[in-house]
Amino acid sequence: MNIETSDLEKAILLKVSGRMDAENAHEFEQACEPWIARGAKHLIADLDGLQYVSSMGLRSFLAVAQKLQSSSGSLILCRLNGLPRQVFELTRLIGLFPIFDSAQEALATL
């Protein structure tokens, strides 16, 4: 898994690609934590390059979203497709996250 992070002022963008599994899912939380600690309210995860996510990955997304929600922020997902989208749908997590077709669309709502 690879995570590229950039500061878009209104939100932090994390481009996640590759496979998020039991061995590396904690890296997503680790990538988000410094931004949350610095007071970032909204994080946008661009998942266009994400090929695979297991329940350990879901745990990571959920943990970050819960942290942000408790400080009135949000974890926004965009470009959730393929097997990862199916996994979010099967586990009915899909309705718990704001989901957009692009980071630009997500930014426009903030």
Binding site: A22, S54, L62, R92
Partner: protein, 141 residues
Amino acid sequence: MDSEAQRLTLPASVESVAEFRNFVRSGAVAADVPEADLEKLDLVMEEILVNIARYAYIPESGVAEVLFVPEGPGKLYVEISDWGNAFNPLAVEPPDFSRGLAERSIGGLGVFLVRSLVSSIAYRREADRNILSFGFPGPDS
């Protein structure tokens, strides 16, 4: 059917998941399981094996064994065994989907995902061994 069965035994640890996954994936490719389903098979294997790695042998350690047999074109039968504490993952309570974001936990999601992606699944305890078997791919594939 056993003459075609292939087995692999490794330590029951998260670090072994990739090797087990690749082992079964090679069997799936040889059995002409559609390429598009291979990552779903990876997911099923990961969910089951991570549970064994984390919970089967607490507080000690042990091994897991994976066996697969081709079951006709495009189909695979898989058995995953451990010799840890008796545990039927199919008896785990289903996730509570009514909870909102703040209260949602991932407890039970792994088993729920596995059930969604296989054609059949069964648990049995034989002597000191837990055996979870499943058919792949599932109906949605």
